[in-house]
């Protein structure tokens, strides 16, 4: 059962209000107990990247663009500090998978699809149901083999870095679209050292 957020805020999807949103989140983030410097950075990065992504989304017809951000705390059975989960909601239509938006057709469901390639990593999308996409990051070719710098520079693209960072520092990265309510980026799992694949 989904718990209620411990901190939640929705603002218009414009640059100025998102700056305020990030500043308010910073106050909350720095007050979370049990987080080391890396975890704090990953949360800041997640808020910033989530807001940037939300800002780029076009709201549906006759809708005002908004961005909502919610922090959740979940207890651990071993009594360690609660884990933090994060949801960022925007007014957009969600991820496009092989040219398809939600509801995703059957032909893209149930398999892993390379969504983006960033340097020597790839982001893999799997469509769990017509309204949800799960993302994960993995080394290209399944191993972190060193690549020549020249090759990396020639193939490097400026897009996708933020998404790669999210997939590497959260256990679960989901994009869930709800018709009429927009799309929610759900980040959960320990905010810790990069997830190794």
């Amino acid at each position: 059962m989904k718990s209620s957020p411990v901190y939640s805020l929705t603002v218009p999807s414009v640059s100025d209000s998102l700056t305020i949103l990030e500043d308010l989140c910073e106050i909350y983030i720095t007050a979370i107990p049990g987080l080391d410097e890396d975890a704090l950075t990953f949360l800041r990065l997640s808020v910033a990247e989530g807001c940037r992504n939300a800002l780029s989304q076009e709201p549906g017809p006759n809708r005002v663009g908004t961005v909502g951000l919610s922090f959740y705390r979940t207890r651990q059975a071993n009594g360690q500090h609660p884990l933090t989960a994060l949801e960022i909601n925007d007014s957009g239509i969600g991820l496009q998978i092989e040219g398809n938006t939600s509801p995703y057709p059957r032909e893209v469901m149930g398999r892993e699809i390379e969504f983006l390639r960033i340097l020597d990593y790839q982001i893999i999308a799997s469509v769990a149901d017509p309204f949800m996409v799960r993302l994960k990051a993995a080394p290209v070719n399944g191993c972190e083999a060193p690549l020549e710098r020249d090759m990396l520079i020639s193939s490097a693209q400026p897009r996708g870095l933020g998404l790669l960072a999210l997939c590497r520092c959260w256990q679960e990265v989901l994009f869930v679209h709800e018709p009429g309510a927009g799309t929610t980026l759900r980040l959960s799992g320990p905010v810790a050292a990069p997830v190794s694949n």
Partner: protein, 106 residues
């Protein structure tokens, strides 16, 4: 070859859409060809992915015209963000600006 140019990035937080001035300064420099650039992160605590994506564009332009870009003084936890995005594979990192300049050789 020209002397390496050291540019101290304005901190503590850098987002590309809030730093168009530095963006243009860097683009103008690498466009001259054979640009040997050192970006100093001493004052920087946080960088968003749009600025780091811009650095990739800058690196491609610099290397395409015979130049390069080195980075220096990147502290934790910013370094963790950099590694998360795999950018340590693209940009040589140095402790100080002097070390970065020296790495370009004669």
């Amino acid at each position: 070859m020209p002397e390496p140019k050291v540019v101290g990035l304005p901190g503590p937080r850098i987002k590309l859409d809030e730093n168009q001035g530095i963006r243009q300064e860097l683009l103008d420099y690498v466009s001259r060809g054979n640009a040997r650039l050192v970006l100093d992160f001493t004052e920087v605590d946080f960088v968003d992915s749009s600025f780091l994506g811009f650095l990739i564009i800058l690196l491609k332009r610099a290397t395409a015209s015979g130049g390069d870009i080195r980075l220096c003084a990147m502290r934790q936890p910013l370094r963790s963000t950099f590694d998360l995005m795999r950018l340590d594979r693209l940009f040589p990192l140095h402790e100080t600006a002097e070390e970065a300049k020296h790495s370009y050789g004669g």
